[in-house]
């Protein structure tokens, strides 16, 4: 009786020491992934700030620096994530790395928009990640959910950019941002109900609508007030409503 009891408790110990190893490894890995994610977040934020330094006359150099920084984020920090994650980890540890990846998506799409006025697609981002991983392993690919969450955050940055551009007098750029953001918002409304755990996404959609409306209101204000200003001497303002007033019939 006593011997069977002790073998039983020792087999329990054996099994649990295996579980202990498993949990230790998993937790260590998760910790490393969280750290990598945090580094990605910080450095992606820096890229975004760099893009915000844009103004009428320094577009090229600002964007060049931002793009260079973004490449550095990819090479230094995303690659660390890529090395950690394999196979089922992509989904298992998603919560650990998701914030960083979202921020990275935000930075990458932000740069791309300022450069070309287009949306950087998920496939394009994932293509840039391919060279980072060992070709024999399944490569880390950003999933649709993180991409969409990143896009939702992008609108907040675009809102700031639009407001800045309006006060800088770059009306067309602001208009363009406005249209782009509206488009993204509209497309996302179709997709959000389908997202896995959509509570996070729904929250972001509300914030996003706020951002869209802020841009629209800023564009509206600019549009309306424009009519009250005399064109600056020498500026090539296309229309002057004050001068046009006498032509309007009442």
């Amino acid at each position: 009786m006593a011997t069977t009891m002790s073998t039983e408790s020792s087999s329990m110990k054996d099994a649990f020491s295996k579980h202990a190893d498993y949990l230790n490894n998993l937790n260590d890995k998760r910790e490393r992934v969280v750290k990598a994610s945090r580094d990605i977040t910080i450095n992606s934020k820096k890229v975004i700030f760099q893009v915000h330094r844009i103004s009428k006359h320094n577009k090229e150099e600002v964007l060049q620096k931002a793009e260079k920084d973004l490449v550095a984020v990819t090479d230094r920090y995303i690659s660390r994530l890529v090395r950690e994650l394999q196979g089922t980890d992509f989904w298992k540890l998603r919560r650990a790395y998701s914030p960083g990846v979202q921020e990275y998506v935000e930075a990458a799409t932000f740069c791309k928009f300022c450069r070309t006025g287009t949306l950087l697609s998920l496939d394009e981002i994932n293509a840039t990640l391919l060279p980072l991983s060992d070709p024999s392993l399944e490569p880390l690919q950003i999933n649709v959910l993180d991409y969409l969450l990143g896009l939702a955050d992008l609108t907040g940055e675009l809102m700031r950019l639009a407001i800045g551009r309006i006060s800088d007098g770059e009306r067309e750029f602001a208009d363009k941002i406005c249209k782009f953001v509206r488009e993204i918002y509209r497309e996302l409304t179709h997709v959000v109900p389908l997202v896995d755990d959509s509570s996070d996404m729904k929250l972001k959609m509300d914030t996003m609508l706020q951002s869209v409306m802020k841009i629209e209101n800023a564009c509206f204000g600019d549009h309306v007030r424009r009519s009250e200003y005399m064109p600056l001497p020498g500026s090539d303002d296309q229309t002057s409503f004050l001068l046009a007033v006498p032509d309007v019939e009442i």
């Binding site: 039983e8 949990l23 046009a244």
Partner: protein, 297 residues
């Protein structure tokens, strides 16, 4: 209504002490221009593609025209992908619901153990359900296999049910053998040992904690029914189990919480053991049983 209007009117007058018809007519056209913007800007909203093309060439150095199709196309793809995973999830949930109702059946069968029925009699029905569970997990594994590598994407959908399954299986196993159902054994019972769909270790551990919650009640009722040796056995088992769990470095998560709860089960069983022992209630007065849970020091 009328007075309100009058008030508004008088307010207007007070704000405008000398309404000047000339001023009004001067103001009017401006107002109009505000409400109806002149033609060039009003063209903008409709002509999205062509305008954005001119815009990007105007404001973006080296810009290429914004072409809506890829953007729309991408979101269409997303929708298709997400719809697909949505239907997969629905199918998973359908199986999980069956698993859940099976476990409820098993659980209610096992509850008879508290009504002093003999163990083999109690186990008979729930044991029959293990085969059903095995079959259901097989189906679940088949569904999940359709999207390889995404086990953990849908894991939350069967997590709690699986924890319950483990707790029931472990309890039954313990009733039968007096030993702990090991992870590999649990997988074997569910037919998961050589499939890609595995039993998550943390789910297994949480399930074991759930099983431990069942033991205090079992001990109390067994003693009431006259089985005075039961507390010693349970205490020994639970002490070992608790010691085994202490080998794990847990994070501040659900499992940790459950493990923290286990010590209350242990304490309760200790109390029962104490109550029985201090009154000298022993099974058939057999002296061997008096060794105590830890064995000789």
């Amino acid at each position: 209504m009328k007075s309100a209007f009058r008030n508004a009117h008088s307010l207007f007058r007070s704000l405008n002490p000398n309404p000047n018809p000339h001023l009004a007519s001067l103001l009017l056209p401006r107002r109009l221009t505000l409400l109806t913007p002149p033609s060039p800007p009003s063209l903008r909203p409709q002509t999205f593609p062509s305008l954005s093309a001119t815009l990007s060439s105007a404001s973006m150095p080296g810009g290429e025209p914004l072409t809506p199709p890829p953007l729309e196309k991408q979101f269409e793809d997303f929708r298709a992908q997400l719809e697909e995973s949505g239907t997969l999830r629905e199918r998973i949930r359908a199986v999980v619901m069956e698993i859940e109702s099976t476990t409820r059946l098993m659980h209610s069968g096992l509850l008879l153990v508290h009504q002093s029925r003999s163990t083999p009699e109690v186990l008979e029905k729930p044991k029959g359900q293990i085969g059903v569970l095995k079959e259901l997990y097989n189906r679940l594994a088949e569904v999940v296999r359709e999207s390889p590598g995404q086990y953990y994407r849908y894991h939350g959908d069967w997590r709690t049910e699986t924890q319950t399954v483990v707790s029931l299986l472990a309890f039954m196993h313990w009733l039968e053998t007096g030993t702990l159902l090991l992870h590999t054994e649990a997988e074997e019972k569910l037919g998961l040992n050589d499939s890609e769909f595995c039993l998550d270790v943390e789910d297994y551990l949480v399930g074991i904690c759930f099983m431990s919650n069942e033991l205090p009640r079992y001990v109390v009722n067994q003693v009431t029914a006259g089985d005075y040796d039961c507390p010693r056995k349970v205490l020994k088992f639970l002490t070992d189990l608790h010691a085994a769990f202490r080998m794990l470095n847990l994070r501040n998560d659900f499992l940790r919480k459950k493990f923290d709860g286990m010590k209350y089960d242990l304490r309760r069983v200790e109390e029962v053991y104490y109550d029985v022992k201090i009154r000298g209630l022993t099974a058939n007065g057999a002296p061997v049983e008096d060794q105590g849970p830890q064995g000789p020091p």
